[in-house]
């Protein structure tokens, strides 16, 4: 599968494994530039593992993750972190930290012995908080925030990194549905503003609604990829998830919407 002309981030024939357990043996995937790519698939299909490889958290045993034409492993870590940002699944805020101080830590890849904290960092931090709507919480303790607010703060930390590529590992898990939609809208705004977004999501309908490029995975391989309207069919869902369903147009956006048949499928019609 070719990523076409524009792909800054790409997995080329990667073999991904944790301590001997192979998750994917020969996986290739190119992230189209300027896309909102969403990766879906059943549990243990390797979608989060792929994201870990994209974000340098897992080193492929074979093949390579390629960033801007060079193996991502060959970059200095801070240089790679200036190009690819990640909203991790598990991050912990130090006890007693304020929102402003936590977001400021996202500036780490831009700092060094010579290049210390400056007005540029201050502006980037404030911009990240404005974009995520947490600026008014700047002096609040992260410990005191609600789950939805806290997740926005972590998005702000990743935004403060000011990377052209942003990876999101199941960003809406544990949030109630209104916060999920709010957050996905925020990602769509970021995407419209020019960031290439790659997200791993569980909810197929969210994926279909927000993705410009949908990637469907099963057993460590990409089953299909493309625009949600072209890709997401009842046959595909049946094949990948083993779920009988009908696919109808979303009444709001017109994107495909998956409606499971469940026990109704077994009833005589």
């Amino acid at each position: 599968m070719s990523g076409g002309p524009g792909s800054r981030l790409e997995a080329r024939g990667v073999r991904l494994a944790y301590e001997g357990r192979v998750v994917a043996s020969d996986l290739s995937l190119a992230v189209p530039d300027g896309s909102f790519t969403v990766v879906v698939g059943p549990n243990a299909c390797g979608k989060s593992t792929l994201l870990r490889a994209f974000s340098r958290l897992l080193r492929p045993q074979a093949g390579a993750v390629v960033l801007d034409g060079a193996a991502i492993a060959s970059y200095r870590p801070k240089e790679a972190a200036r190009r690819v940002g990640l909203l991790p699944q598990s991050a912990t805020a130090p006890e007693g930290i304020t929102v402003g101080d936590l977001v400021a830590r996202g500036r780490y890849p831009h700092q060094g012995l010579v290049r210390q904290w400056s007005a540029v960092d201050e502006v980037a931090t404030t911009d990240a908080m404005l974009a995520t709507g947490v600026e008014e919480l700047r002096d609040r303790l992260v410990d005191d925030l609600s789950g939805g607010q806290r997740q926005r703060v972590w998005v702000a930390v990743a935004l403060a990194q000011q990377t052209p590529l942003l990876l999101l590992d199941e960003p809406t898990t544990y949030l109630d549905v209104s916060h999920q939609v709010e957050l996905l809208d925020l990602f769509a705004d970021l995407h419209e503003a020019g960031t290439t977004v790659v997200a791993v999501l569980h909810d197929l309908n969210h994926a279909a609604r927000y993705a410009t490029h949908l990637v469907v995975m099963k057993d460590g391989a990409v089953v299909t990829a493309g625009a949600p309207a072209d890709v997401l069919t009842a046959e595909l869902v049946e094949d990948v998830y083993g779920l009988a369903c009908v696919v109808v147009p979303d009444p709001v956006t017109g994107t495909p919407m998956v409606v499971p048949r469940g026990r109704e499928a077994r009833r005589p019609r």
């Binding site: 790679a80 940002g85 990640l86 991050a91 006890e95 007693g96 709010e182 925020l186």
Partner: protein, 367 residues
């Protein structure tokens, strides 16, 4: 959904930040830091003036500044200053080391004195002394004020090796499927402490009587024998370790966010953690080699500093300052109120009380 449209609201004034590390400049940490420094200096002057030859604070300052002060100058600079300096420097080293390990383990109990690193350092030093037969080092422990610089190097090396090997073993045993679990680390560390205590007792029982006697006093943790000899050696080591810690501090702050976030921000997680463990163990080992294992300063200082500063996470500098203050105070208590009971005993008793308070407060908070 409308949260992003609040741009008309007046923005809160941005925090001013130090250009170095981007640390926020806030009133409270600056004030608390200044007060801690002042308290350390004041206690140091008092410590330099008390003893068999009492001096007023003014006399102490005069004696230190005036080369013609005669006997008072000898008392202050030769007799008392090494001990006071040692208390300050060692307390700071222990406090900073405690902050490093409590941050890495995300656990207020993940302190080098609880998880066996200082006990292991003591084992290493004891091995050098009893098996290696470097008797000169014990000249300092047996009370001869001449100081044994040659033995200092060997015992420090022994302590460092002992501390590092213990750290390595504890980390290896606490690793489950490639990740170190904080809770497991503490439990394994406590077990390692018990085993090493037994080993230390065995080593002392096997040793010649006078060596064992001196070793036991030393093992309680004492500053009473510190002369300029071992002190210059220990301070020299700290001069190397402190800049190393300063260089590693930004990575430690990112590691507080979790391994994944730190790595995504461009920290080489495994390498940074290893370097921090080595520096942290080295700090404890230098102290242990000179004065024996002084418990609880590393445990308590970071948490006390956190209560005082109310800043995010554990402050290395704040922990160092509190550690210095704690050890100078404990040494004064041991010298003046308890007729020379080793300072390690004072810190253990004080630390025991601290642990009880910690547990009671936590229990009440979770109840």
């Amino acid at each position: 959904m409308s949260a992003t449209t609040t741009s008309t609201r007046t923005t809160t004034a941005a925090v001013r930040r130090l250009p170095v590390l981007g640390l926020p400049l806030r009133r409270r940490p600056l004030l608390v830091g200044a007060l801690l420094v002042a308290a350390c200096l004041a206690l140091a002057v008092v410590a330099l003036g008390t003893g068999d030859y009492p001096l007023t604070p003014l006399q102490v300052v005069q004696a230190a500044l005036d080369p013609s002060a005669g006997f008072a100058r000898t008392v202050v600079l030769e007799w008392r200053l090494p001990r006071v300096l040692a208390a300050l420097a060692f307390g700071a080293a222990l406090g900073a080391s405690g902050a490093v390990f409590q941050s890495l383990t995300r656990n207020p109990l993940g302190s080098p004195d609880v998880i066996g690193f200082s006990t292991g350092a003591y084992t290493g030093a004891l091995l050098v002394l009893t098996v290696g037969g470097v008797s000169t080092a014990f000249a300092s422990a047996t009370g001869s004020a001449t100081g044994a610089t040659g033995g200092g190097a060997a015992t420090t090396a022994g302590a460092l090796a002992g501390g590092l090997l213990t750290a390595l073993a504890v980390y290896a045993l606490a690793r489950v499927r490639g990740a170190v679990q904080s809770y497991r680390l503490v439990v394994v560390g406590i077990a390692a402490t018990a085993v090493l205590h037994a080993a230390n007792t065995y080593l002392l029982l096997r040793a010649r009587t006078e060596v064992a006697m001196a070793g036991a006093v030393w093992g309680a943790g004492s500053l009473s024998t510190t002369g300029w000899g071992d002190l210059t050696w220990a301070l020299g080591a700290l001069v190397v370790l402190v800049p190393a810690l300063v260089l590693l501090a930004p990575a430690l702050r990112q590691l507080e966010l979790g391994d994944d976030a730190a790595s995504a921000h461009g920290v080489r997680v495994e390498r940074a953690r290893l370097a921090l463990v080595v520096v942290g163990v080295a700090l404890v080992s230098v102290v242990t080699a000179s004065s024996g294992p002084i418990a609880f300063v590393a445990l308590a200082a970071p948490q006390v500093a956190r209560l005082l500063l109310r800043g995010p996470g554990l402050s290395l500098l704040g922990s160092a300052l509190v550690g210095a203050l704690l050890l100078v105070s404990a040494d004064q208590v041991s010298q003046r109120l308890l007729q020379g009971v080793p300072v390690g005993v004072v810190t253990v008793v004080g630390g025991g009380a601290y642990l009880l308070v910690l547990l009671l407060v936590r229990a009440r908070r979770t109840a």
